[in-house]
């Protein structure tokens, strides 16, 4: 993509201001150290509902949600600005479940009624929505063992989903279940519906999640999201966006881990000099900086493309998520190594980054899966 055909990769003045404000908010209000607190008390929520509400009041949750649902009607690009900052402190708030999965599924496939019922609540920070798609027995979201059997006035869903992000906390769950012929369909299910049970799970990265079991859960015909039997294609489109949004989060996390490491390299002295004066570490730090600079270009482009060139989204989603996964994990490993002994202690924040890095690496496709899809998209 040459200079004059590349999408615009710059922030306008409002976006720069948004970035700055979000940066300050996150660094001040939502330090990564919170993750240990939530973990140690086995917090039933795992994040701060107040902070989520505050972000809603600042308009950040509704950035991309259309005016008609009380959002600001801006772009996915704007949302990514906030997501990037959320990554700096590894915020466990429900960005992925609600803004990247639930809201995108509704925006892309929801009926007017479904959107109306939920999107305004999402923008207001009052409603949480997640998508339940992971199963124990399958690593391919196109193949589901959860089934939705046609009933007199709708469907009955039975099955189990694992690691549903915020699954025990959300108001509504969009679940993939096999309908006639085995192809998945997405259904919008009220979390309080009879037959839905959740069990909280505890992951290394502190992202709230749950096992969600569906036992003959009755849903009406109008609970289908998108088209019957076409859930896989819709999910793929949702994942493409979610992957880009998550990549923005990972970009922020990588940047902060490097920033913390650079600060440590300048401050920590051994052999009577700052360890950052050792050339071997300098060159490795430059390698990290370089990877992050590439990642930044790619994330900005992918976010822009979601708003402006829908046909290019799959290509850029692969690119952004593959690079984000490799870069974040690499940065996180090097950050620990350069911190030395304290880097592996639980009390220092830098070790939290590798846990999020591993979790995000495994979410919405590993790099090799994205490279395979990229190759297919390029015809080889």
């Amino acid at each position: 993509m040459s200079g004059h055909t590349a999408p615009s990769l710059l922030l306008n003045d409002e976006q720069k201001m948004l970035s700055k404000t979000a940066h300050e908010f996150v660094r001040k209000r939502a330090p990564a150290a919170r993750l240990r607190t939530f973990r140690d008390r086995k917090d039933e929520v795992g994040f701060s509902r107040e902070i989520w509400k505050e972000m809603a009041q600042l308009g950040w949750l509704g950035l991309q949600i259309p005016h008609e649902y009380d959002g600001l009607g801006l772009g996915f690009f704007d949302l990514c600005i906030v997501l990037e900052e959320s990554g700096r402190e590894l915020m466990p708030e429900p960005f992925v479940s609600t803004l990247l999965l639930g809201a995108q599924a509704l925006l892309l496939g929801g009926t007017g009624a479904q959107k109306k019922a939920l999107l305004a609540g999402v923008a207001a920070g009052e409603k949480l929505v997640s998508v339940a798609y992971e199963e124990r027995g399958s690593r391919d979201f196109r193949h589901v063992e959860t089934v939705a059997r046609a009933s007199d006035d709708g469907f009955e869903i039975t099955g189990e989903k694992i690691q549903v992000l915020d699954g025990h906390l959300v108001d509504a769950i969009i679940v993939s279940a096999a309908t006639g012929g085995g192809a998945p369909t997405l259904f919008l299910v009220d979390s309080n519906a009879k037959g839905v049970t959740t069990t909280q799970q505890f992951r290394i990265d502190g992202q709230s999640s749950a096992i969600v079991r569906f036992e003959n859960v009755a849903v009406a015909l109008d609970s289908v999201v998108g088209e019957l039997g076409k859930g896989a294609a819709l999910l793929q489109t949702v994942f493409d966006r979610a992957a880009v949004g998550l990549a923005a989060h990972m970009l922020g996390a990588s940047e902060q881990a490097l920033a913390d490491t650079l600060a440590y390299l300048k401050e920590r002295e051994q052999f009577d000099v700052p360890i950052g004066s050792f050339q071997a570490l300098q060159h490795r730090a430059v390698a990290l900086y370089t990877e992050i600079a590439l990642l930044r270009s790619v994330v900005l482009a992918a976010a822009r493309v979601i708003d402006e060139q829908p046909e290019e989204v799959p290509r850029f989603a692969c690119l952004a998520k593959a690079l984000a996964s490799e870069t974040f994990l690499h940065v996180a490993k090097e950050a620990i190594q350069m911190h030395g002994g304290i880097g592996v202690t639980d009390e220092h924040d830098i070790g939290l980054y590798i846990k999020r890095a591993q979790a995000t690496y495994m979410t919405f496709g590993e790099p090799s899966q994205h490279r395979r899809r990229w190759a297919e998209l390029h015809g080889y």
């Binding site: 690691q163 002295e269 052999f271 009577d272 071997a280 190594q337 639980d346 590798i354 846990k355």
Partner: protein, 401 residues
């Protein structure tokens, strides 16, 4: 049949007769694997305690130490045969740990008779457990920068400062540590002494350190006007650095080897995880990229073990090559790669910290993966090892740092 061969038969017979069946196959029989003794970590298993007692009786808790100090009075060659025969059936040494493996030999070489008589028998009988106080917050890679102050006051030294990474200090009775006895010495390697301290001494407190993987045996040990008898000085005053370096060298060369598990085990472990998590019971791993990575790991593992074997064979033939210095570097990288790949094949099922939805094996594996990040840091970081190889093996000029 040579003396040693006869001894091997005797040792084999005695071990197989005396080691409780329940312990067979439970251990790699290394110097740090098994029951560490001491007054704080009480063991309940009667088989373990019985085996300890048989070992003490026989003098084989410390086979090569003099009998007067509770040892077996045997040669190092005899001792090695005992350990090989233990390893052959996977039985732990009757007692293991720092005291026998690290501190005892130091005292034998550098201590005085009074110190030996006081401390060695208690170690050989597993009554007193020791830990090591080396690193400090500002003395990691640059260990000689240590600042724990020991000031002479009459018949005592008064200790003030802090040690870190004092493994198992919370379960130990005594600590041997490096302290700065002369802060005015012209070089920081000078003015350091080795002192022994009872961890029950007023002013000494121990705080556990958790790692990113959770619980760990590491501690911080604080000294606040802790008074230690002057007779607890090992070796000459202000000349402890030479001893410390010898211990460190020994430690480094043993770490690479200690990382080495059964040859092929890393590869088999990852293959087993791939089969479990990818749902393929036999035949080729279906993802060719993963299969290629596993084979790369297996090859690295084999190359590492062959290199360890070569080093061992060379040192036996009296011409040790310089390759020994790389075993820590390669061993720790191998360990990290193993866990990284084992995590990769597990996908999101490797993301559990605790609780429902994750099985115990996966939870433990994930903790081990996190723990493995420390492997390239502890015991001399890879960067320090590379500096050493660069200078001592490749002869590259010292940087101005």
């Amino acid at each position: 049949m040579s003396d040693l061969n006869i001894f091997r038969e005797e040792a084999r017979a005695w071990i197989r007769e005396n080691a409780p069946r329940s312990l067979w196959g439970t251990s790699g029989s290394g110097p740090f694997e098994g029951y560490w003794g001491g007054s704080k970590d009480l063991e309940a298993d009667p088989d373990i305690l019985g085996w300890r007692d048989r070992g003490i009786e026989k003098g084989w808790t410390a086979p090569s130490w003099p009998k007067e100090y509770g040892g077996g009075g045997l040669s190092v060659a005899h001792e090695q045969i005992i350990h090989e025969e233990l390893k052959a059936i996977g039985v732990p040494r009757p007692i293991a740990g720092q005291g026998l493996a690290m501190f005892g030999p130091v005292l034998l070489q550098y201590g005085n008779d009074e110190q030996r008589a006081e401390h060695l028998p208690k170690i050989a009988r597993g009554e007193v457990r020791w830990c090591q106080g080396y690193s400090e917050p500002n003395a990691g890679s640059d260990l000689a920068n240590l600042q724990l102050r020991a000031e002479r006051d009459g018949d005592e030294f008064v200790l003030n400062g802090q040690k870190v990474w004092t493994s198992h200090a919370h379960l130990s009775d005594w600590i041997y540590c490096l302290a700065r006895t002369n802060p005015k010495a012209p070089k920081k390697q000078m003015g350091i002494s080795i002192l022994l301290a009872d961890l029950g001494t007023p002013g000494i407190t121990v705080r556990r350190i958790d790692l990113i993987s959770g619980y760990s045996p590491f501690c911080e040990t604080f000294f606040d006007d802790a008074r230690v008898p002057a007779k607890n000085l090992v070796g000459e005053l202000d000349e402890g650095w030479t001893i410390a370096k010898a211990i460190l060298g020994h430690e480094r060369s043993s770490i690479g080897r200690s990382i080495a598990r059964q040859p092929g085990s890393a590869e088999r472990e990852v293959v087993a995880r791939a089969r479990k998590h990818l749902g393929v019971g036999h035949g080729p791993i279906p993802d060719p990229l993963l299969r290629d990575e596993v084979a790369g790991l297996g090859m690295l593992e084999e190359a590492f073990h062959l290199t360890l074997a070569r080093i061992e064979q060379s040192s036996k033939s009296g011409t040790p090559g310089p390759e020994g210095s790389i075993s820590k570097i390669v061993g720790s990288e191998l360990k990290q790669k193993r866990f990284e790949l084992g995590m990769k094949v597990a996908g999101i099922l490797g993301l559990g910290w605790e609780g429902p939805g994750f099985d115990d094996d996966d939870l433990e594996y994930t903790r081990d993966w996190l723990r493995s990040r420390a492997t390239t840091i502890e015991g001399g970081s890879s960067e320090i090892q590379k500096n050493i190889v660069s200078k001592r093996v490749l002869g590259l000029p010292e940087g101005k740092k």
